[in-house]
């Protein structure tokens, strides 16, 4: 298993690098609070430094603000807030992970983005079925030597958020 940090421009993982036929997945890992999460690299458009958020009054609850991404205005969601972690990040490592979900570009604020990992398909197991409901958007858990990576299903994050927002509006 390859755990070396990889900051090169990334090509899709290819099985032929491995002996055997096993598929490798490239995962962008990031930290929010004490936990480590992962996103399929093909979903990630870019990762930028944290920047000033402009609050949008009267907007949906799940959006924390908007930023300027080279002239484009994109909504941003603070995953800390989303995951119920209240304490502020301690250093200037915060990043915004920009991705496209359901035809819209949006950003997730995370504490840090340490590395890109190659994970064999076999190391990914389904998530345990005990967590809180908001963890519905964890599509799998990648087990590595000494740590666990929660793989996020971004489509589900948005649909969960949407339905929560709708539910809140109806309440």
């Amino acid at each position: 298993m390859d755990q070396q940090p990889n900051h090169e421009p990334i090509a899709p993982a290819r099985a032929d690098r491995q002996t055997g036929t096993e598929e490798l997945r490239q995962i962008v890992s990031f930290r929010v609070g004490d936990e480590e999460f992962g996103l399929d690299i093909l979903r990630v458009q870019e990762i930028i430094r944290h920047q000033h958020l402009t609050r949008v009054p009267n907007s949906s609850d799940f959006v924390d603000g908007v930023i300027n991404l080279r002239g484009k205005v994109i909504p941003v969601i603070a995953l800390r807030k989303r995951f119920g972690i209240t304490q502020e990040p301690s250093d200037g490592q915060a990043r915004i992970v920009v991705l496209e979900v359901q035809n819209m570009v949006l950003g997730f604020i995370v504490d840090s983005v340490p590395e890109v990992l190659r994970i064999p398909e076999s190391a990914v197991v389904p998530p345990p079925r005990f967590g809180k409901t908001e963890r519905d958007y964890v599509s799998g858990v990648a087990k590595m030597d000494d740590r666990l990576l929660l793989l996020l299903d971004v489509d589900r994050i948005m649909s969960v958020e949407d339905s929560q927002a709708v539910a809140a509006a109806q309440a």
């Binding site: 402009t54 009054p57 907007s59 300027n68 205005v73 927002a165």
Partner: protein
């Protein structure tokens, strides 16, 4: 028949060209009704149909060919003087044109459908055969009539091949626009222009940013040279060029408003006939230029307003005569540029709107209290017509009122940063004025600070700004109002509405910005006025929810996102929050 050529690009070109030709034919036909002997008009319609039919045959669009051919028969008989233009003929021709339009739309939407063309084809044949002198093979099958057409064409137009060729190469020449207006032009995909204008927008934002940096350097923040430096000269030049480029870029997208107006002669004709009214449509200022993107957006509201005039405004001929008015009602469409916006007026000389009736309804509906109703101005009364639900109720009770869905018209206009005003004199007519921005792309805003946040207020809705004086603040029916000279304006506290974070300024440092929303004026209370800026406003997108009171976002000189206010939405939220206060 299998298409001879299956080429999507060709098909697209055919559609674009044919749609233009049909649009032209529509106007020409309606004009032809008034001037049945105008050969030029007749020839133009004939050529349009001929071109469409020709290309359609090439592309294997059978029903189009069939219908086009039969309509062409009628026209060619008219051209040769073997047929006199009558009402049934005109109706049949217009029906054929419409059917062709439907087919083109279907092709655009994916493909031809099943049509029952037989009644229309039979009707066309019937009207064209009204003259015994024409030796057309009436009993012939389609193959026969094709043969007949080919045999026919030499004497319809001496050089049919050439005719078709020029038609295909230079469709502009056949457009109904007068000769003088035909300038050198080329067809460009609107998306390309949009892209260009977007890029210019980015350039403007970057220019703003550079201007600010140069200013900061000028004030010694970076210990560089003052405002006389080569840098500030260069930035000034860049700024000038950017502005020119922006104007030029926007001009490429401007089209005459004729693109919208041109469908009205036909619409008015058809509607007038269906309600048995006599109506004359006057169109002025159709050369006024408007952003191409606005064309589609204002079309529906205009149709709605013209329909209203026709339906509810203009009286029946007999009734008009009783009132010593000419039998023929008049609807006037007028467009002109006024400063930085376009003014479109739709007026009629119909029965007008009775303000008492409107007021009665408003009171009944609980929109206004009886006491307040006594003091309302005419403008305020007519304003009720634009309230949601107000108009439908009028329709249901079948009162004189126009305005089914006037609220929709208004909200459509608001989306375009436009506004609408209505003026009416009972017995004399109604006139509706639409104010539209020249373009949707660029908006000058006034930057204001509220708490620690900066917002842009669209300049065109601002009347004035002034210092806030707390002795002018009063409460009226549970709402805060401010007296400014002789006017009483509802006060909107932005920081409360937006629950803005940050320290409020002291009362005596606050400013008010007086804005108009349609006919209503409101005073916006802000902490600080910062300055003016030309911005490119982008929509926020649906993911953020409704965001009432926010029109969009722009990128400021410091690279941060700045929100631009929507005065109409603000007024709405202010009304909602104050009514909640009253309830509590």
């Amino acid at each position: 028949m299998e298409p001879l050529i299956n080429d999507p690009v060709l098909l697209q070109e055919f559609l674009t060209e044919s749609e233009e030709l049909l649009q032209g034919a529509d106007q020409d036909l309606v004009r032809l009704e008034a001037l049945p002997d105008d050969e030029e008009l007749l020839n133009r319609v004939f050529r349009a149909l001929h071109t469409i039919k020709g290309t359609a045959g090439f592309l294997g669009l059978d029903p189009v060919v069939q219908l086009g051919h039969r309509a062409e028969d009628v026209l060619s008989n008219l051209r040769r003087g073997q047929l006199k233009l009558t009402q049934p003929i005109m109706d049949a021709l217009l029906a054929a044109r419409d059917q062709l339009g439907i087919m083109l739309a279907d092709i655009r939407g994916g493909g031809l459908k099943q049509y029952s063309l037989d009644p229309l084809l039979a009707e066309l044949q019937r009207v064209s055969s009204c003259v015994p002198a024409v030796p057309t093979p009436q009993d012939g099958a389609k193959a026969d009539s094709v043969a007949h057409e080919t045999g026919d064409s030499p004497d319809v137009s001496p050089k049919p091949a050439l005719d078709e060729e020029t038609a295909a190469v230079q469709p502009e020449q056949k457009n109904p626009a007068p000769q003088a207006l035909t300038a050198q032009s080329m067809r460009v995909d609107v998306r390309k222009l949009d892209e260009l204008v977007n890029l210019i927008g980015e350039l403007v934002l970057e220019r703003n940013r550079l201007l600010q940096l140069a200013k900061e350097i000028g004030t010694g923040r970076y210990e560089a040279r003052g405002s006389d430096s080569p840098l500030s000269h260069s930035v000034a030049r860049l700024s000038f060029i950017t502005e020119e480029l922006q104007a030029a870029g926007l001009r490429t997208r401007m089209v005459p408003i004729e693109a919208v107006f041109s469908k009205f002669p036909r619409l008015v004709r058809d509607l007038a006939r269906s309600v048995e009214k006599e109506i004359e449509l006057e169109i002025h200022g159709q050369e006024t230029e408007i952003d191409k993107n606005m064309v589609d957006l204002i079309s529906d509201p205009l149709v709605h307003l013209v329909r209203n005039s026709l339906d509810h405004g203009i009286e029946l001929p007999a009734e008009r005569e009783r009132q010593n008015k000419p039998r023929r009602g008049k609807i006037r469409l007028d467009a002109r540029q006024e400063g930085d916006h376009i003014l479109v007026t739709i007026s009629d000389d119909g029965r007008g709107i009775d303000p008492d009736r409107v007021l009665r309804k408003a009171i009944e509906k609980g929109v206004v209290s009886r006491e307040r109703a006594a003091n309302l101005s005419m403008r305020e009364i007519y304003d009720f017509i634009f309230l949601p639900g107000f108009s439908t109720m009028e329709k249901a009770t079948n009162l004189s009122g126009r305005g089914v869905g006037m609220d929709v018209v208004r909200s459509n206009l608001k989306r375009l940063n436009g506004s609408i005003e209505l003026e009416s004199k009972p017995g004399e007519g109604t006139s509706v004025r639409l104010h539209l921005p020249l373009t949707l792309a660029i908006m000058p805003v006034l930057l204001v600070k509220v708490g620690e946040e900066i917002y842009g207020v669209p300049l065109r809705s601002i009347i004035e700004t002034s210092r806030f004086a707390s002795q002018n603040l009063h409460r009226l029916e549970g709402r805060e109002v401010i007296c400014l000279r002789n006017e009483t304006l509802p006060l909107v506290r932005l920081e409360a509405l937006f629950s803005s974070p940050g320290q409020e300024a002291d009362n005596h440092e606050k400013k008010i910005v007086v804005m108009t929303v349609g006919d209503t004026r409101i005073a916006l209370l802000v902490d600080q006025l910062i300055g003016q800026e030309s911005t490119v406003v982008k929509p926020l997108g649906h993911s953020l929810g409704q965001c009432q009171g926010i029109a969009g976002a722009t990128v400021g000189g410091d690279g941060r996102v700045r929100l631009v206010l929507d005065p109409a939405g603000l007024l709405l939220s202010a009304a909602q929050s104050s009514s909640q206060e009253v309830l509590q």
